[in-house]
Subunit: 438 residues, 2 copies
């Protein structure tokens, strides 16, 4: 089963190559310039653990650096390029939601299993194998069949292939994990980093989509839309039953927990609504953006929450944010607070949200993220009062699909050519996890 990988790339203007498997680095050499080749060291490892594999790659780095140094070349900017660059036929697996009868309804519907990001012809014309499935759970699922020999796994947050440490261990050929979209918490990032894998998303591909959707949900809750819609379809007409808790957004206090790319786009879109805008983040925004949105920095989350009529969650799911909004945190909020969460379901304590919606502590809860996904039929958020939930959809509009399909294709192209990805796309690079996931 062992297959050799030829990693080739440019170190500055010097072409370099490394032959390796997941267990062994055989040689680092420069095939065309004998005089330079002589300065290479030859390495051999037998590394079965993720830590050892990482050590192997770091040693390879060191070898290339020593080569570069002895050749009078400084810097190491092209090293990662060398490590993830890879020639030869690859096995690429994509896990996307199945569209069935909807697949043919829109020629731009690229994000489903049938659309397969629109890259099948391109991949196969270059001799790569491209397996696409939506069957991702359990020991007999389609994904499991390909774990032992896939090189690249593409998935989405909307129908995530959960990449556990155990799966990483069994994926001997795995080099690259791509998220078509934004949000890679379906991957055990620590395990991926330890195994020396590269994890990347199409950063920015659907941030506008998600921010727009958040503003929609804020309005749906503030204005009490759904009870009105229910009246319509059930033949009723009772304006009072809606109006007694319908408000304008104008003048209300909206706080975002997290003001990264999505949070900032939301604040910009909220600006003309004349709200009081607050944000909590690790860092203050630059003053220009703060002035542009008029949002005020709240260093202390617990100090911000009681001020908010509406709280929007815009933070990634990390060890720090998992279950952050538990009973205690929700109790710190205003009675009747409205919560919008398009970030990740697991940031909330599921039962605490149900209880607070039932008691009225939460006046409305809307979001498109659940844990797990797909949400089971008996997920309690489906049936709690004052919810305005959907399946995970906000980042997979047709526009977003076109952008993240293009972004995935671009990264695969760079991967085949041994080129760097756009820097902001990396979630795990050279054993390091991106700061927002720490």
């Amino acid at each position: 089963m062992t297959s050799w990988t030829l990693v080739s790339g440019l170190y500055k203007h010097f072409p370099v190559e490394i032959f390796y498997t997941r267990r062994h680095v055989i040689s680092l050499f420069h095939p065309n310039y004998a005089s330079i080749c002589s300065s290479f060291c030859f390495l051999q490892f037998n590394c079965s653990s993720p830590a050892r594999k990482m050590a192997m790659k770091l040693a390879a780095t060191s070898a290339i650096r020593s080569f570069a140094s002895s050749s009078g070349i400084s810097g190491s900017s092209a090293f990662a390029r060398c490590l993830h660059a890879s020639a030869g036929s690859k096995k690429i697996v994509g896990v996307f939601y199945k569209a069935n009868e909807y697949a043919a309804k829109n020629p731009n519907f690229l994000g489903c299993a049938e659309g397969a990001l629109g890259i099948r012809e391109w991949l196969e014309s270059q001799g790569h194998q491209y397996i696409v499935t939506d069957d991702k759970e359990g020991p007999n699922c389609e994904l499991e069949k390909h774990i032992p020999d896939l090189h690249v796994l593409i998935s989405t947050p909307f129908h995530p292939a959960y990449v556990t440490e155990e799966r990483i261990k069994r994926a001997k050929n795995l080099q690259l994990l791509l998220t078509a979209g934004v949000g890679s918490d379906h991957i055990d990032l620590k395990a991926a980093a330890a195994a020396g894998l590269t994890v990347a998303e199409v950063t920015g591909s659907n941030v506008v989509s998600v921010a727009e959707d958040e503003l929609m949900r804020i309005l749906i809750l503030v204005r009490n839309f759904l009870p009105g819609y229910h009246q319509v379809i059930t033949g009723e007409w009772n304006v009072a039953g809606i109006a007694y808790r319908a408000y304008d957004l104008e003048g209300k206090t909206v706080g975002t927990v997290g003001a990264g790319r999505i949070g900032r786009l939301l604040l910009q879109r909220l600006k003309p609504f004349n709200c009081n805008l607050l944000y909590h983040d690790r860092l203050k925004m630059d003053p220009e953006l703060e002035n542009q949105t008029g949002a005020k920095f709240e260093e202390d989350l617990d100090a911000m929450l009681p001020k908010c009529d509406i709280v929007v969650i815009n933070t990634p799911l990390t060890e720090q944010t998992r279950g952050l909004f538990n009973k205690d945190k929700i109790a710190k909020m205003k009675k009747g607070v409205l919560i919008v969460n398009n970030a990740r379901g697991a940031i909330m304590d599921t039962q605490a949200v149900v209880d607070a919606c039932s008691s009225g502590q939460i006046g409305g809860y809307s979001g498109d993220v659940w844990y797990p996904q797909p949400a089971p039929k008996d997920h309690p958020w489906r049936y709690m009062p004052n919810q305005a939930m959907t399946p995970h959809i906000s980042g997979t509009t047709i526009d977003a699909q076109l952008r993240y399909a293009a972004g995935v294709k671009d990264m695969l192209d760079r991967y085949f050519k041994g080129e760097e990805f756009p820097l902001q796309n990396y979630i795990v690079k050279e054993g390091k996890i991106a700061s927002q996931y720490l």
Copy 2:
């Protein structure tokens, strides 16, 4: 049944008074200044038709003007003040939606029949009679009982008391029709003008409320929210069934038919969404506002419609706009156009909308206005595909209620004192209908 009305007010600094009934003007005189009084003419009319009644008031105007002129006072700005000013106990009837069990749920719920705009104590302490009901239809309804002797009728667009020519004829004491909110098309304005009635709304009281709601509806349609919500409550999970026709708002072309107060607020709120914004109106906006929103003027509605992904109706219901969006007009739009209409239901041809939603010519229709209101159980808009309708709610948020309740109180106060209303509030004044209703 005839009751005399004493209309008193200031003509510039000169107090003047007119005694009149709906049929007779007895005298115009100045009680305190004998020397000035002598210059008054004494009038008597027996005018049974609305046109004659109007003629009576115009003659009174003329008399006051001739008095003013002979006294060396120029201008007539205070004349209307004199005509609608009215001392003595008044019978005021308010028609609002009933809240029943919801009435007690919010202390600011002033817009319902139980809340009665929060002016009962104030009115009764001044000796006025204040009848409030939601029972407004049919020959035996509560409203009908008071038509013969009410002086002031207050109603709302959310639960409109339809004021027909026939009702105006029978309302012998009626002087003032107030709309708590914006939109007075439930009143036969021509008949009201001919009868010399004053019609006024609380202009601006809920324009923000409606504009916000329109943006919510745009997003609900563009992003295909409701199918996702339905999946949640029915235990399903099918992202593809939503995503295949979910889009970003960014980059789409949004055209508003009408760019008055609400249309402009909508354009301002749309600005950060990076859409192509178009507007059709009788007049171009001032260049500053056009620059601020980036919206382009479209003089020809039929030229604008085919460009729009989303059409928002923001025009009042008038003779010109009734049924404007019929089969032909809808056929001019893009296939799959999304329509938002919080203006008035009767601007649309009901069946044409149903047919176009069924055929896919309209991709989504959302609004809160119907004809008639309340919409009957069998109104076809309740059951057509891709609708996101609610009962008439957008302008009756709690915030809007507080504003229009205050606005009605202010106008009643001015009416009792014989003072002018804010000019922008007048819909019918001195026999003239405001330009937006022509």
